[in-house]
């Protein structure tokens, strides 16, 4: 059995490797994958890529799309805007991809996707959360940018709802890093708090690679904060947790979905336990689809301690390929405008890991995830589990897109 599992994983990974090689036949469908596979956000990038590989291998095994095999063209954008731009141009002009999936970093997505927009090639953002991503080309008649990740205007109100309403904290402090991600998220948190009539008692900033969080935490502590709301990435979040341990001051951390990153959980250790964040997917086999996804992922990529580094990224990466495949099938073509038209009007529901996508996109709405879909995850025993028993019990009922779901911030254009 073990041997069989190993050969299967071997054959799957060779399949994935073969996919990324340039042995592509002329009649193959090329799909670009752009994400940071090295660096501080690599745990998200690599999990996303592995989810994409898994879905592609499954689709190809079942005969591909339109009788053609999907070939992935993977590129490491290193979370750098300029690399992302180079890759976009390469994928469009040299590789001539039918579509691209990926982007972990909002900045990279915003810098790169205008090339796809100009070339009329669809982009499926599967991880980046910046609210502006799907609205970058609102002023143009056609928009080629789609997303199946929970955007910040959903996440910030969820964080505030959890802290203020559900857990009843009156005084909260915001700690965000000085990047675009952190500062845009901080602004969203402030807006969401305002709607509840609450003002943060402290709003503090820190830089990437800061090693000491004492002043930020002391300010929050002095202001009497009962909880800390965060918008940052793994390593610095871990320094916040470690700083709290050092000061002997422990209040709950509630923050954006990055609190589920493996490099936060590992580096924070016991200090990270209890942190809560919105998640579109939690590594629990709550539906048959999720179960088979988790089993296949673990078998193929064999992550440490049977824990997917970033389950959300892996699941969304996986779903993004199925969404595209469904659109290509419906369009009967790999022509960009036709794929886009099909995405905006998907006739058959796509059963994914996160949700079942029934009409996920319309011409005006390019975000597949609405405020009713994410649940709260909590770090417990070095993994992310459901924060609420009730959510876990009801997890087998797939939450589907509800365009009337309340709780998202209205984006001003």
């Amino acid at each position: 059995m073990k041997f069989a599992a190993k050969t299967l994983s071997l054959s799957l990974s060779t399949l994935a490797l073969a996919c990324s090689a340039s042995l592509a036949h002329a009649e193959d469908i090329k799909i670009g994958v752009s994400g940071p596979f090295t660096g501080g956000s690599s745990s998200m990038g690599v999990s996303m890529r592995d989810g994409v590989r898994l879905a592609t291998a499954e689709i190809n095994k079942a005969g591909g799309v339109l009788g053609k095999q999907i070939v992935l063209v993977e590129r490491d954008d290193e979370a750098k805007n300029e690399r992302g731009v180079q890759i976009a141009q390469e994928l469009i002009n040299k590789e001539k991809v039918a579509a691209t999936v990926g982007y972990i970093n909002t900045g990279v997505a915003l810098a790169s996707q205008r090339f796809y927009q100009e070339a009329k090639i669809p982009v499926m953002n599967n991880v980046a959360t910046g609210s502006a991503i799907t609205h970058q080309f609102d002023n143009q008649p056609e928009n080629y940018i789609f997303r199946n990740a929970a955007h910040d205007s959903i996440q910030a109100p969820m964080i505030v709802e959890e802290a203020i309403t559900r857990r009843g904290y009156k005084k909260v402090a915001i700690l965000a890093d000085s990047t675009n991600y952190g500062q845009l998220g901080r602004a969203d948190l402030v807006k969401a708090l305002e709607l509840k009539g609450v003002k943060a008692v402290a709003e503090e900033k820190f830089n990437i690679k800061d090693v000491d969080m004492t002043p930020q935490l002391l300010k929050a502590k002095e202001a009497g904060a009962e909880a800390i709301l965060t918008y940052a990435i793994g390593p610095e979040l871990a320094q916040i947790a470690n700083g709290m341990t050092k000061l002997g001051w422990k209040v709950p951390m509630i923050g954006s979905w990055t609190l589920s990153m493996a490099n936060f959980i590992d580096n924070a250790g016991p200090g990270g336990e209890g942190a809560r964040m919105p998640q579109t997917f939690i590594q629990e086999p709550t539906t048959p689809k999720r179960q088979s996804f988790i089993i296949n992922y673990l078998k193929t990529f064999n992550p440490k301690n049977a824990r997917i580094d970033s389950p959300v990224s892996a699941a969304q990466g996986y779903d993004s390929v199925y969404l595209l495949a469904a659109a290509i099938k419906q369009a009967g073509s790999t022509d960009g405008p036709k794929i886009k038209a099909a995405l905006e009007d998907l006739k058959t529901p796509v059963e994914g890991v996160v949700t079942t996508y029934t009409k996920p996109f319309t011409k005006a709405d390019h975000d597949a995830i609405t405020a009713n879909i994410p649940v709260f995850g909590e770090v417990k025993g070095q993994r992310v589990v459901y924060a609420y028993e009730a959510d876990f019990k009801k997890a087998s009922e797939v939450r589907v897109k509800d365009v009337n779901a309340k709780g998202a911030l209205v984006i001003k254009k």
């Binding site: 000085s178 900033k205 590992d266």
Partner: protein, 291 residues
């Protein structure tokens, strides 16, 4: 008051992290008037090698001497490849570029060997804070302070009391005269680089449990340490310690009393003031160059 104590303690701990790295700059400057701008990367290599050894099951304290030997070899390599050719042709600036270049190469090698993610370095001491005068201090921070003071004493003792140290001082004062006196100045310089990288590697394993370990950890820390070396003076061991304390406390108190967005500013303003008013550093001896 309690807040201030905590800020000062955290500032001192932070400053000592900078100081242990800054010693490396001083050691090479003391012999050859050159600096190893790859100091941050030497630090990172030390921490990464240490982490790998700990991962293999080597005890933290046993690992330190091995890392020191590694650091010494790495430093000697940098001097032979990057600095000696520049000194030989009396190039004023060649060593700047070559040490930076070697630093980048080391960083890239480390990225390929260990990946670019930040890793946790298991702490050899308990991670629960100690209470001291109403403020909290981590045992590891105390170890860093002890390490920094220990390094200062070792360097001062070496330079003042031993015959080899006198050779180092002589080489610094006048390289040609030292040579005529029978001191192998080339060897002294190589030795100082080895010592410098050794101290960086040691600093790396000392601070890694506090800072997270990764291929990019050296960049910001190396720069801050450089500021400490300039503020304190490149020729004074005492200056490094005080420079570290000044920069660290400036960062934490500004962060708290002014704004966390500006916490790096006062330290760097201080750096500019020191450069303008007392270029040799607060505690450095200003040497008059005769031309």
């Amino acid at each position: 008051m309690q807040i201030l104590t905590q800020l000062v303690f955290s500032g001192i701990a932070l400053g000592m992290i900078y100081a242990v790295i800054a010693f490396g700059y001083q050691l090479t400057f003391a012999t050859s008037d050159t600096l190893n701008f790859g100091q941050g990367d030497a630090l990172m290599l030390g921490a990464m090698v240490g982490l790998s050894l700990v991962g293999l099951g080597v005890n933290y304290w046993l690992m330190i001497p091995i890392v020191c030997v590694f650091g010494a070899l790495q430093g000697a390599f940098v001097e032979r490849i990057g600095v000696r050719p520049a000194i030989k042709i009396k190039s004023e600036f060649g060593w700047i570029m070559s040490t930076i270049a070697l630093g980048i190469i080391f960083k890239n090698v480390a990225e390929n060997l260990w990946g670019r993610d930040d890793l946790k370095f298991p702490s050899p001491l308990p991670e629960a804070p100690l209470h001291f005068l109403g403020a909290n201090v981590l045992p590891m921070e105390i170890l860093v302070i002890v390490g920094a003071v220990g390094m200062m004493l070792a360097v001062e003792f070496f330079n003042r009391k031993t015959i080899y140290g006198k050779a180092v001082v002589a080489t610094f004062n006048d390289r040609d005269a030292a040579k005529l006196m029978g001191i192998n100045t080339g060897l002294v310089i190589t030795f100082s680089y080895a010592l410098s990288s050794m101290s960086a590697a040691f600093a790396g394993v000392l601070i890694a449990p506090l800072t997270l370990t990764g291929a990019t950890m050296g960049a910001v820390l190396g720069l801050k340490a450089f500021a400490v070396a300039i503020i304190g003076g490149l020729t004074s061991g005492m200056g490094i310690i005080l420079g570290g304390i000044i920069l660290g406390v400036a960062e934490t108190t500004t962060g708290f009393y002014l704004s966390t967005g500006y916490k790096d500013v006062p330290g760097l303003v201080l750096l500019l003031i020191v450069l303008a008013v007392k270029p040799a550093g607060l505690f450095g001896k200003s040497a008059i160059k005769k031309v």
